[in-house]
Every structure is written in structure tokens, then in C-alpha cells.
């Protein structure tokens, strides 16, 4: 019975990936992409990775889908115009092009097939490594948390997580740079006049905040943690923007910058304190590890939520 569910999920995700690439309309591809992300999230629950499933459903499917949907507004309107221009061209020139394009396509197909076979072979015969499960489990009592994934993220490999918060900040800066405008755009989304939508958003915000805070705290002993909480809190900012309250762009600039850099800064500050007291960069004293991890996670979640809101606010005109 179990194997049937697994095979179904596997087939469904492959099918949806195909539909994503082959759907004739871009809008359809984006909606199929939502479904693809949720299917992957189900697959991760089957593999026992509930933390990853929450992150996938919320960030990779939800947040990314929202960004794609929003950019669809730019593209889909003009794409049909270009399409007409191609059709107007005389027939014979198009045919010549088709023939010259055929050869690279066959080459690409053979290459992809070979690649697929080689990687299938590699995955099928992957050597038994044993993994790091036992090693990660043996030190869990010293890490300050009970959930192994949180222990890896914020204690054993805290350096990676710190740099990753930095990468998000870098991504935000790159988006600002590519946007070409120094100021945040004024919220051009016409403030929704729909009173039901605005009321519904106001009702959802405390729920989202509470759920995010719960995920943040629960990360200590189960699936959850800074990233999952950050998406919940980021969703608050995005919903407020959609409802016509661009709070994030209207709060003072200093506060905005502080929110964006709090996670990276606090993490680094703690690391430097540990170094001055004679430890390694992120070597928490075991007695305080639980409290310190919770503080780092809170600041990190605020920063990531602010970064996600900023990306959304900046990308939507």
C-alpha cells in the first residue's frame, strides 16, 4: 500500500514537471508550478522530512509562486503580441530555420538521454555511506535543543546558517541593484477597496503571527524553526501590502535596515563574543545553548521575514 502512494507521488511530480515545461500558456505553467511544489512537499513528508516539507510548501511553492504570478502581469500581456509578429513572417524562411534547429535538438535529446542513464546508474549504485545520523544524535544532549534538524542548523553547522542569512541579504541587494531605482517603489497596487478582503487580511494577521511564533518555539523539539516562522511572518507583510497598507515601505528607513540586518548582525555579534571568551566562532556554552539558539532564531526569523517582504514589495510595482 505504501509503495503505491510513493509511486503515485513520483509519477505525479514527474508529470507536473513535464506540464510545467510544456503547458502552452505561461499562466498555466505557473499554476502547475504551485501544484508541483505541493507534490514535492508531500514526497518529503513520505521521506520523513517534515521541516523540509513546510519550507518547500511555504517558500518554494507559495512565495516563489506569488513572485511568478506577479511577474506574469508584465509578460503575458505582451507575449501574444510577439507571437503574432512571428506568424506574419513568410513561410519558407521559417522552414529553413526549422531544419537548422533540428540538428541541435537531436543532439540535445541524445545528450539528455545519456545524462539520464548515467545519473540513474549513479543513483542506483550509490555506495553505502552510513550517513551522519548516529553522529548527529550522539551530541544532541549538548546542543541545547531536542530536534536533530534544528541542532544541525543552529548548532553543529551554525556557520552555514549564518552565511545563508547573509546570502539572502545579498540576494536582496542584488535585486535592488538590478531594479535600478534607489528608492522603494511607492505601492502601485491600487489599494484594494474590497472591504471583505481587507477585513479577512486583518483577521488572518494575528493567526499568522501566532502560528509563526509557535513554529519558531516548537523548532526546539519538533519540525519548525526560524525559516518556517520567517515565511509565516513574511506572509503578514505581503498580505498587508496586497491589502493596500504598504507598512514595510512606510516605516522609518533606519528601522527597516535594522530589521533586515538584525539576524546576520546578532549572529556575528554572538560569535565574536564566543571568540573573545576563548571559544570557537559559534561554540555555544552548553548551559545556555537552548536560550541562545532561540534568540538567534528569533532575530534570524525577523530578518528573513523582512527580506522576503522587501523582495515582494520591490518586485511588485
Amino acid at each position: 500500500m505504501d509503495i503505491l502512494i510513493d509511486i503515485l507521488l513520483a509519477l505525479l511530480s514527474v508529470y507536473l514537471a513535464f506540464r510545467c515545461m510544456l503547458a502552452p500558456k505561461l499562466s498555466k505553467a505557473v499554476f502547475v508550478f504551485f501544484a508541483f511544489g505541493l507534490t514535492l512537499a508531500l514526497a518529503w513528508i513520505r521521506l520523513g522530512a517534515v521541516d523540509v516539507a513546510i519550507a518547500e510548501a511555504a517558500i518554494a511553492s507559495g512565495f516563489m509562486g506569488v513572485l511568478l504570478l506577479d511577474s506574469l502581469r508584465d509578460f503575458s500581456l505582451t507575449f501574444s503580441k510577439n507571437h503574432n509578429v512571428i506568424e506574419v513572417k513568410p513561410n519558407n524562411s521559417v522552414e529553413v530555420k526549422n531544419r537548422s534547429e533540428l540538428f541541435p535538438k537531436i543532439g540535445l535529446g541524445i545528450g539528455l538521454l545519456l545524462f539520464l542513464l548515467i545519473s540513474l546508474e549513479a543513483v542506483w549504485n550509490i555506495p553505502e555511506g552510513g550517513g551522519l545520523t548516529a553522529l548527529a544524535g550522539s551530541k544532541i544532549s549538548e546542543s541545547g535543543v531536542e530536534h536533530p534538524v534544528t541542532a544541525v542548523l543552529l548548532n553543529y553547522r551554525a556557520y552555514d546558517t549564518w552565511l545563508e542569512i547573509g546570502v539572502i541579504l545579498m540576494g536582496l541587494l542584488a535585486i535592488f541593484a538590478a531594479g535600478g531605482i534607489k528608492q522603494y517603489r511607492k505601492a502601485g497596487i491600487t489599494p484594494s477597496q474590497d472591504p471583505i478582503l481587507r477585513q479577512a487580511i486583518l483577521i488572518f494577521i494575528p493567526v499568522l503571527f501566532l502560528f509563526g511564533a509557535f513554529l519558531l518555539y516548537f523548532g526546539k523539539m519538533g519540525p519548525g524553526g526560524a525559516f518556517q516562522a520567517a515565511v509565516m511572518w513574511g506572509a503578514i507583510g505581503i498580505l498587508l501590502h496586497l491589502g493596500g497598507w504598504p507598512v514595510f515601505t512606510e516605516i522609518p528607513r533606519r528601522l527597516r535596515l535594522l530589521m533586515l540586518t538584525a539576524g546576520l548582525g546578532f549572529f556575528l555579534f554572538l560569535g565574536l563574543i564566543f571568540m573573545t571568551t576563548g571559544g570557537a566562532l559559534f561554540e555555544y556554552p552548553p548551559a545556555y545553548a537552548g536560550l541562545l539558539i532561540l534568540m538567534i532564531e528569533t532575530f534570524g526569523a525577523v530578518s528573513i521575514a523582512a527580506a522576503l517582504t522587501a523582495i515582494f514589495a520591490f518586485l511588485t510595482k
Binding site: 514537471a17 517558500i59 516563489m64 508584465d74 543513483v123 551522519l132 534538524v149 525559516f227
Partner: protein, 100 residues
């Protein structure tokens, strides 16, 4: 057949679909979606081997890698989207092909 084998095979197929889509798709948005599908394949591969190495719980190290990876991939994709929209804004183009 164990659960992890099904998903590790799926991950290879997903990566290949994404790679093919990246080359064959014309529109920027579709290319970006193709890279995200490739990333999904890599993550699925990592997590499926975490399941293979599970004792009472699955191997937490690949899980942590994948969680950070998802967030970084989404940030990079958002950057790609902003670049694509910038190209579109200035040149009106939405593919890399010469034909217009």
C-alpha cells in the same frame, strides 16, 4: 523496492526534465521555472538518501542542507526574475532567440 529508491530515481528524472526545459524553453519565466525544477531534483536526491541512512529518525544533516538550499534557491530565482523583468522593461524582449 524501498521508498528512498523510488524517490531517488524520480529526482534524476526531475533534474533531466529541468535541464531539458532550461535548454528548450524560450520564455524567461519558463527557463527560471526549469532551474527551480532542477533544484527540486537535487533536493529530492539529498533527502531520499537521508531516508536511507535513517536510524530512529532520518539523517538530519541533508535536511538542514536542503532547508537552507530552498531559501537560497528562491532568493536566487527572485533575483533572476528581477533581471528578466528589467530586460523586458528596456528591450521588450522575453526570449533569447533572434527571431522577433
Amino acid at each position: 523496492m524501498e521508498t528512498y529508491k523510488i524517490y531517488s530515481i524520480t529526482s534524476v528524472v526531475l533534474f533531466a526534465i529541468g535541464l531539458g526545459g532550461l535548454f528548450l524553453a524560450k520564455h524567461f519565466l519558463r527557463k527560471i521555472i526549469a532551474t527551480i525544477i532542477m533544484g527540486g531534483g537535487v533536493f529530492l536526491c539529498l533527502v531520499s538518501f537521508a531516508d536511507r541512512d535513517s536510524l530512529s529518525y532520518a539523517d538530519p544533516v541533508p535536511h538542514a542542507l536542503v532547508i537552507t538550499g530552498i531559501v537560497v534557491a528562491v532568493t536566487a530565482a527572485a533575483f533572476a526574475l528581477s533581471l528578466a523583468r528589467r530586460i523586458h522593461k528596456f528591450s521588450g524582449e522575453e526570449t533569447f532567440t533572434d527571431e522577433k
